[in-house]
């Protein structure tokens, strides 16, 4: 809800997410899809729309779309159609995009979105269809010419259309993150928004609660979760301001200017196309057998919601901890390797506490963590078997993060091994007691707080290596 001058306004948001399909070859040609290659080095005759060239569907891309549909709890359409969307643009070599219009490969589904406060909301999926990406116009290569890079032309995209079920920027952001997580779990899109392999068109309208939907504006090509949220906040406020001043909203396509944090209309040239959709006569309808779909279903990995439930039920984690861990597949995978039969709560604390802290500090992703999950597990084992105290363990962890070396090596090299030998500790304690007769007297006369002083002295004398539990036990015995 947005508070306006004359009451509250409800914001209605729907998202179209364009996700680049993970596949070695393009949707209708054998050309490679790798990011960052030399311009025009991954272009087949089909991609360049040479005369007489014909598209042939890449089965892998269809499997990926079906896998994604299943991951979004959606209906898979056994029969779907590829259509041509006709418009002229230099980065679109055939001057039509092969897409799916009336009969997409995936129908209605739903996504459970986890919100900050621990609550969830359900967002409907309207459809998912396969389509070709366009190439890229390069305006900075020459003072008065535009160059075109067709490496991306023909790469498979999935357009995932949500129902207008989102009501604020937070929900929208959480939806995008959840969809991205599902795609990454499925391995159908790398979800990399910076490289453009995932981007969103955001539809925003506002209305008085209970009234019919207002006129919407579509904000094109927003490429980060933060920008999606900023664009929604700006756009909703803009629409409320116009309506409250008695104006009307024009249905239009807008761009988000991330430098200024505003949306503005796209140039009129780029809107109001009549795309003249019609079924592509070069392609047969896509017919999927039940066996094809079931084989993919049987092969689905565990998805975030299922993983979260398992973490809670089988490992006894809190909803919150489990939610944090499963939000990124890499984190969940890392965590599972760390825990491997160890105490789950300890593992969560190390991963979400110390490791996340260090990663944040150094600006790294978990994939680039210098500490391997096996080594972190090893560190936890060293604590569990009494080799390291909690304090020493932190020191060892810091060294592991610095050097990437395994904990045992560091412990060995620095002689950090905890001393649990009672004889050794007893000797140290005897020395301390002998050298602090006054404090001993004070303690015995009832100054209990001094117990900590003795522990500290012993630990200091052992250079922190004495097992605190053993120290405590012996001290208590000696001091009576």
């Amino acid at each position: 809800m947005i508070q306006g001058a004359n009451g509250e306004w409800e914001v209605v948001i729907g998202l179209e997410t364009h996700a680049q399909v993970v596949s070695n070859a393009k949707l209708f040609s054998g050309a490679a899809t790798e990011f960052g290659a030399e311009p025009n080095s991954q272009v087949s005759f089909v991609d360049a729309a040479m005369p007489g060239m014909l598209p042939v569907i890449n089965k892998v891309c269809v499997e990926q779309a079906v896998r994604t549909g299943l991951g979004l709890n959606a209906e898979i359409n056994r029969h779907s159609i590829f259509d041509r969307k006709n418009y002229f643009y230099p980065d679109l070599p055939s001057n039509y995009q092969i897409s799916q219009y009336k009969q997409p490969v995936v129908g209605e589904g739903k996504v459970i979105v986890d919100l900050e406060d621990g609550s969830v909301c359900e967002v409907g999926i309207e459809r998912l269809h396969l389509e070709q990406d366009a190439g890229k116009s390069l305006h900075d290569q020459h003072p008065d010419s535009t160059y075109v890079d067709l490496n991306r032309a023909g790469v498979a995209l999935m357009e995932i259309v949500s129902k207008p079920d989102l009501r604020n920027a937070e929900q929208a952001g959480a939806y995008v993150r959840k969809v991205r997580a599902i795609l990454r779990y499925l391995g159908t899109c790398d979800g990399n928004m910076e490289q453009g392999s995932m981007r969103c068109d955001v539809n925003v309208s506002v209305r008085k609660p209970g009234e019919p939907l207002g006129t919407r504006c579509e904000i094109k090509n927003v490429n980060s979760v933060r920008f999606v949220q900023q664009a929604i906040d700006y756009e909703a406020r803009r629409q409320v301001d116009i309506l409250e001043e008695g104006g009307t909203i024009d249905q239009e396509t807008r761009l988000f200017d991330s430098d200024r944090g505003v949306t503005r209309p796209m140039r009129s040239k780029e809107e109001a196309h009549d795309y003249r959709y019609f079924p592509d006569p070069d392609l047969l309808p896509l017919e999927l057998s039940e066996d094809f779909i079931e084989a993919i279903r049987a092969d689905l990995p565990e998805l975030p919601d299922q993983k979260k439930a398992r973490f809670v039920e089988a490992l006894g984690l809190s909803d919150y901890d489990a939610g944090v861990l499963v939000a990124e597949k890499e984190v969940a995978d890392y965590f599972e390797k760390v825990v491997g039969g160890r105490d789950a709560k300890t593992a969560v604390n190390w991963v979400t506490g110390d490791l996340f802290g260090k990663l944040n500090e150094s600006g790294r992703e978990i994939a680039g963590s210098p500490v391997s999950p096996a080594d972190l597990g090893g560190l936890i084992d060293l604590i569990a078997d009494g080799t390291l105290s909690g304090r020493l363990a932190k020191e060892v962890f810091d060294a592991m993060f610095e050097s990437g070396r395994p904990p045992a090596e560091i412990v060995e090299e620095r002689g950090l091994k905890q001393v649990s030998d009672s004889g050794e500790i007893e000797a140290l304690i005897d020395t301390i007691i002998a050298g602090n007769a006054d404090k001993v007297a004070e303690y015995k006369s009832g100054k209990d707080k001094l117990f900590g002083f003795f522990v500290g002295q012993v630990m200091k004398a052992s250079q922190g290596k004495a097992n605190p539990k053993v120290v405590n036990d012996i001290l208590r015995e000696k001091l009576g």
């Binding site: 005759f45 360049a48 729309a49 040479m50 005369p51 007489g52 060239m53 014909l54 598209p55 042939v56 569907i57 041509r84 006709n86 002229f88 230099p90 070599p93 055939s94 001057n95 039509y96 535009t146 075109v148 009549d274 003249r276 959709y277 019609f278 006569p281 070069d282 392609l283 047969l284």
Partner: protein, 494 residues
């Protein structure tokens, strides 16, 4: 010495195999004939040197007994087939500098079978036309003329150059493409056999697209046997064309048993339309008698939606064309006319690059696909297409093959219909229905008109049953015994 340019493929094949003449001699004779036939304007590119090289290699293979099905046979190739390293224009200014870096599947199949390429044939621009008058390279002339009348006659279209050069005895056969009749109608106009196979029989990969759901390659030849040989070499499943049929290719020549006893021939009543010239009606009746005399049964069948086929075709084909031709935009290849900005460049390039008929069809196609008209035109036309296919299916419950005229008239004079698109489109009235249903059809030269020009009869078969139309065509050909030939006026400089 035999007249090498007057042979059929089958005869040339035997002569080459028996060492009566070499592939090189055969090719040289055709190179010479092609040069002599230049007044017909049937070729847009002669590739005599390449032909010599290919023929020399054929001779080596023949000497080793390794010859393919078409070893050493000189062919002309419609300029709609992309040929690697050889300019391919589709008869259009917009592609008149285009040299493909790839070879179409059909021509690659032909070269693999040992055929020799004489050159590329003139055609209606982007295969849009029924008289070969829309080519950027000028009209093609039919080698046939009315006796005592020197006015140039059209060879039909769009495979007009292919038809003309084979009829002029300057190529043993040629490839054509047929979207609504572009093989069969020119065959009828030039006294040749023209076979359009079932949609999906020949790969479309590397053939410049006009209307993707209709386009199909096929041969123009001087005999039914030659058409069968050519079709066997051209056909086959191609994974690069999603609409290519994954079916084995029969030996079509083996279908020529000469026996059609008991075969059921359907005569579609709706093809007996008002205004059909009496001589064509008479020829049709003659054709019925010939087939009956050979032991076939004939019976009337009804194809009730026939009258909607032509209007529906002139919605579907332009719709697809408007989209297929969008790629000719001056950005990557072909003609570019610079402009003040991008849109201006697009407009100037396409205004200069396309001829009037192509523009007309791009406009029609764009219109019928636009918002508000799509349902009224394109969707309706697709429904009609389904009904037409259903008509044929139910007719084929009762008969094995249909016999019809190929074209509603004899060949007409250059310029006669070029100002009247509707009259021009009417040329396809008998060929379009089979195209809309994707069925195979063959035109067989069956007689001469009163003015001395060739006329063809058409046989339409079931999907992927080219064998039956080939067999029937063989019988029709034998009965008609069409052996008239045009006078070689171009050789004497008339």
């Amino acid at each position: 010495m035999v007249e090498l340019t007057h042979l059929t493929i089958a005869e040339a094949r035997d002569g080459l195999a028996g060492g009566v003449f070499s592939a090189t001699e055969l090719t040289e004779a055709h190179n010479t004939a092609i040069e002599a036939a230049r007044p017909l304007n049937a070729m847009v590119l002669e590739t005599a040197d390449r032909a010599r090289d290919m023929a020399a290699r054929s001779d080596l293979r023949l000497a080793k007994g390794e010859g393919g099905m078409l070893e050493g046979i000189p062919l002309a190739i419609k300029d709609l087939f992309c040929t690697e390293g050889v300019r391919t224009t589709a008869g259009s200014h917009i592609l008149d500098n285009f040299v493909p870096p790839y070879e179409s599947t059909v021509t690659a199949n032909l070269w693999r079978a040992g055929a020799v390429m004489l050159g590329k044939t003139n055609m209606d621009e982007f295969a849009m036309g029924s008289s070969n008058e829309t080519s950027f390279f000028g009209p093609v002339e039919n080698p046939w003329r009315k006796p005592g009348d020197n006015r140039p006659i059209v060879p039909g279209g769009s495979s007009g150059g292919s038809a003309s050069i084979v009829a002029a005895r300057a190529a043993l056969a040629a490839t054509g493409t047929d979207t609504g009749g572009s093989i069969r109608q020119p065959a009828s106009f030039t006294g040749l056999v023209g076979l359009k196979p079932t949609y999906g029989r020949c790969s479309r990969w590397g053939i410049i697209a006009f209307a993707s759901s209709l386009d199909q390659a096929g041969p123009l030849t001087r005999s039914v046997r030659d058409a069968a040989i050519m079709l066997s070499a051209m056909s086959g499943h191609d994974p690069k064309d999603s609409t290519s049929a994954d079916l084995p290719v029969p030996d079509f020549e083996a279908a020529l048993s000469g026996d059609i006893k008991g075969l059921r021939i359907g005569i579609p009543s709706e093809y007996r339309m008002d205004g059909l010239p009496e001589e064509i009606e008479k020829l049709w009746q003659q054709g019925i008698r010939w087939l009956e005399e050979a032991g076939a049964e004939t019976r009337e069948v009804s194809l009730p939606h026939t009258k909607y086929a032509l209007p529906a075709y002139y919605i579907v084909a332009p719709a697809e064309a408007s989209s297929n031709l969008a790629r000719y935009d001056g950005v990557r290849y072909g003609l570019r006319v610079e402009g003040d900005d991008l849109t201006d460049m697009y407009e100037r390039t396409r205004a200069e690059g396309f001829g009037a008929e192509v523009k007309r069809r791009v406009m029609i196609g764009t219109y019928v696909l636009s918002a508000g008209y799509y349902d009224a035109y394109y969707v309706q036309a697709q429904k009609i297409r389904t009904l037409i296919a259903r008509d044929f299916q139910s007719a084929f419950d009762d008969v094995d093959v249909l016999l019809t005229p190929t074209a509603p008239s004899e060949a007409f004079a250059v310029g006669d219909k070029s100002d009247d698109p509707i009259a021009m489109y009417f040329n396809d009235v008998f060929t379009v229905p089979a195209s809309m249903a994707g069925l195979p059809g063959v035109s067989v030269p069956s007689g001469l008109s009163e003015t001395g020009l060739p006329l063809g009869l058409q046989l339409i078969g079931k999907a992927f049953d080219e064998e039956t139309i080939v067999r029937t065509a063989g019988v029709l050909e034998a009965a008609a015994a069409f052996d008239a030939q045009p006078e070689a006026w171009w050789e004497t400089g008339q």
